[in-house]
Each structure stands twice: as C-alpha cells, then as structure tokens.
Amino acid sequence: MSDAVKINVYHLDFSYQGHRILKNVTTQFEENTLTAIVGPSGVGKSTFLTTINRLWETVPLADMKGNVEIKFNGCFHDVYDQSFSLPRLRRSVGMVFQTPNPLPMSIYKNVAFPLKLTGEKDKKLVARNVEKALKRAYLWQEVKDRLTDDANLLSGGQQQRLCIARALVLEPEILLLDEPTSSLDSRAAMVIEELLLTLRPNCTLIVVSHYLDQVSRIADRVIELSDGRFLERPLGNPSQLRVSGLHRT
C-alpha cells in the first residue's frame, strides 16, 4: 500500500429499497489530490460520497456492505467500526452539497456553527477561524462588513462559497463535493474551481461533476461510475474523456 493513500474502499456494496446501486467497489484515493467522479445522473455518484462520511445512514431503507478506511495521524481507521466516533469522522471529512444550503442564521454563525458543535467557547478563536475560513473560500472581502446579515440573502455563488467556508472551518483532511457548481453560473463556477485548486495541497478532494471541461481542468484522476462499478478514465481534454451522458461545458 502506497504511503500516499488517504482512503481505502473495499468491496463496497450499496443498495436502496432493495435496488443495488454500488457493486463491489474497491478503490483508493491518494492524499492531497483531486479525484473527479463522473457518470450519468442516478448511477450513485452522490451515494458513493455519503459512504465515506457515513451520511447515508440517515437515509431510511438504505443498506451497505464493505469497508472504508481513512488514514488519520498516519494510521488507517475503519470508519464503520463501532468504536470510531461519528462526529469525529464528519468533522475530518467535510461535505459540500449540490445546492447551496446555508443554515437559517447569519453569515458569521453559519461558518462558526461547526466550531459550536465541537463545544468551542473561546470567542476570539472562533472569530479568527471564521475569518480564516472565509478568506480561504474567497468570500471575506465580500461579506466582512455584513457578517450579521442573513446568509440566505447572499447570491447563489456566494452561498456555495459560504458552504465551502463552513466545511473548511474545522480544517478537514478530506473534502467531498457533490456537483458544487451545478447550480451556479459559469463565472461563479470558475471561482469555485480556482478555490478547489488552492485547497488541493492540504486536502484530499473528491468531486462529483457532470462537466467534462471542468473535470479536465481540475482533476488529478478521473473515475467513471457505470452500472455500479468504477472505471478509471485517462486524463486529457474533454473529447478524450468520452463519458456518455455528460455535459461538455
């Protein structure tokens, strides 16, 4: 096993309402790389992401078999082991959803929310971390004078960057992004792409995307999910990727 491996997935089977979505998936993800998962809608790309942070467990009638191991502090841990803390897992593995989902609170409180969950009481430390996360998400300049405003008043692109800032405030080692630019215009999407590239040196990124141009611009590795199985795709320009059912832009 390579030293650079961050996530190991073994024989992963996932079914929902008796319908098998992921079939015996075995793969690895290397540290501080950006992997793109592509494939047509409904094949289980988003579902795969939720098997890494165990978020699928909140969905009724879903079932999973197999193993997911993540390297924390140099040691691999089975994240489905009973003794492994679920809050710890989700604080180390951030997730950004397809539709921006700011919480019903101010911009500041949105970003401070994960720190509140950890029980952090030091207001100065929280303020410092919120500012740092907003700066990393390229949002600080736009919101620094209106931190107490309702987060839902931000534009779609700003809301998505806020969600990324919220995921970054705990400095996760892994960031899962489920089509983070699909609800944004091309300009806002470019900003998010740039942001992802700046995060890559310190974070393992797994991005689900429908856009081949985007994938060819940012990904270190491309996986196609087809009929419940992972297929490695060579890197190259969008025409070389040849994945059916996807957008070119």
């Binding site: 604080r91 994960p114 995921a167």
Partner: protein
C-alpha cells in the same frame, strides 16, 4: 375554457378575501361602536382606586380588573402547560416515532382536536371531583383545573403545527448539520427547530386565541361570576369570556349589556397584546440564537 375557469377562481379567491377581511372589520368596528363609550377606568376598577387595585391592596368588586387578571393567568398557565408537552410530542412524532406509532398518535391527536370543548370541560370537572374525593378535600374546580383542561384542548394545535413544520423541512436542510458532525439532538435544537420557528409560533398563537375565548371548558372547571383576583392556582377566578357570556345572557338593563361590549374590546386587546408578545419573543429568540455574534 381553462381561462374562464381561472378567472372565476381568481374572482372567488378575491371575494373570499374581501368577505373575510370585511367580516373581521365589521366585528371589530361593531364592538368599538357599541362598547367604546363604556371604556374607562370605572369599567376596569369600579370604585376602587387603580393604584390600590394594581398593588392588590383592595379587592375590585364592580370592575373587570379581576376578570382581566384571571384571563391573563388562565392563558399563561394553559400555554405554559401545553407548549412544552406539545413541542415535545411534535418533535417526537416528526423525528423519532416509527410508522405505526406515528399513525396511531396522529389519529389520537386528530380525535383530540375534534372533541367539543364542553366534553373537555366535563372531563376537567370529573378530574376535580376525583381529586376531591380521593386525594384532598381542599381541591375544587379552580384555576389549575381550568388551565389543565384548556391545555388538553389546545395541545393538538401545538403538536400538529410543530410536527408539520418539522416534517416540511427539505431533506438537504436535514443533512446539513449531520454532515458537519452534529448529533441528532444538536441537529434538532440548532437547525430544525429554529428553521421551523415560524410554524411553531403559529401553533402557539392559535393556542393563545383558543385559551382566551373558550367559555365552555372554564364554566365547568372553576370560573365564577365574582371571586376577585385569584390568590393562588387553587382559587376560583373570574374571566372575561365568561363575563361576556354571563352579561349577554342575564343583563337587566341596556347599560349593563354595553359593559359586555367593553369587556369584549378588552379581551380582544389582551389577545392582541399576547400575540404581539409571542411575535416579539420569536423575533428576539431568533435574533439571539441565529444572528447575534
């Protein structure tokens, strides 16, 4: 054909809105027209000095002051009993209950919301008699029994509005906090309840209105025509809705009936003040919990 139907529907919707607003304006206008003249300190405090009455130095016998205090305490106690239980039940039904339990409890609360208030009053009266016979001879129909009976009456409103508000939240909203490491309880208290606050407060407002107007329940469980300001929750008490009912049924001269209209205006004002308080509390709560740094 579709366009004609659409226009007819629009006309019907407008007409319904106008009838509704018109009815409310007519009722309020009529009350003010008939009762405004009687609105003075004598109506509230009678012959007693207002300061003495407010400091509870002297009892008020001719005025509405004891009924105002009685109504206020009744609403506060009833809402106080029903809100925690209703919120808890609503949260349980929306977030924890299994399918079978949910179906059974939903049916139970639907039946409870359809029970006539006089039956709830009778139940409260029976409870008072039972406690008097088996527990303590000092227990009679009183403010406590009335408020508990009213709490039973309004409980379904609070349960169902809480449950529906929580269940209507989008799946994405439900997953946001867990994806950040929140436990189920943290998700409920930090995200789901604040997000449903408007719906939950609507249920509380409905409950306040119902507690303020219901006469059938309190007639059987402790309200009397003359009792003064209640000394404790085990005392009899006066209440505005009962006073209005009593005056309108038994008035001896037109002037006395006008006092009933005055009492109705005061009851309406009391409700508006309590609803306003509910809105302010909701806004302040939302600001302190969700927006203040």
């Amino acid at each position: 054909m579709n366009r004609i139907f659409e226009k007819l529907l629009l006309c019907f919707a407008w007409a319904s809105g106008i009838v509704l607003v018109g009815s409310i304006a007519y009722i309020v206008g009529y009350l003010i027209f008939r009762g405004f003249e009687t609105l003075n300190l004598t109506l509230i405090f009678g012959d007693t000095k207002p300061v003495d009455a407010l400091l509870l130095k002297r009892q008020v016998f001719e005025g509405l002051f004891p009924a105002i205090i009685g109504t206020f305490l009744l609403i506060l106690l009833s809402v106080g009993w029903s809100v925690p239980v209703g919120l808890g039940s609503g949260i349980y039904l929306a977030e924890y209950a299994g399918k079978k339990v949910k179906r059974t409890l939903n049916l139970f609360f639907d039946i409870l919301s359809g029970i006539p208030s006089i039956v709830v009053g009778l139940f409260g009266f029976s409870v008072a008699l039972f406690l008097h016979k088996h527990y303590s001879e000092n227990i009679y129909p009183c403010l406590l029994i009335s408020s508990l009976s009213l709490a039973v009456l309004v409980l379904p409103y609070i349960v169902r509005t809480t449950q529906v508000s929580l269940e209507n939240l989008s799946p994405e909203m439900r997953l946001t906090a867990p994806a950040l490491g929140a436990t189920k309880l943290q998700n409920i208290f930090y995200v789901l309840i604040p997000k449903s606050l408007s719906g939950i407060v609507s249920g509380v407002i409905l409950a306040i209105g119902r507690c303020a107007e219901d006469t059938a329940v309190i007639m059987l469980t402790g309200v009397v025509a003359t009792a003064g300001v209640p000394r404790s929750i085990f005392s009899n008490y006066e209440a505005l809705p009962f006073y209005i009912y009593y005056i309108s049924a038994q008035y001896s001269d037109p002037q006395e009936l006008l006092r009933g209209y005055g009492a109705a205006i005061i009851l309406l004002t009391l409700c508006v003040i309590l609803l306003f308080c509910a809105f302010v509390i909701k806004k302040q709560l939302a600001y302190h919990v969700l927006y203040r740094i």
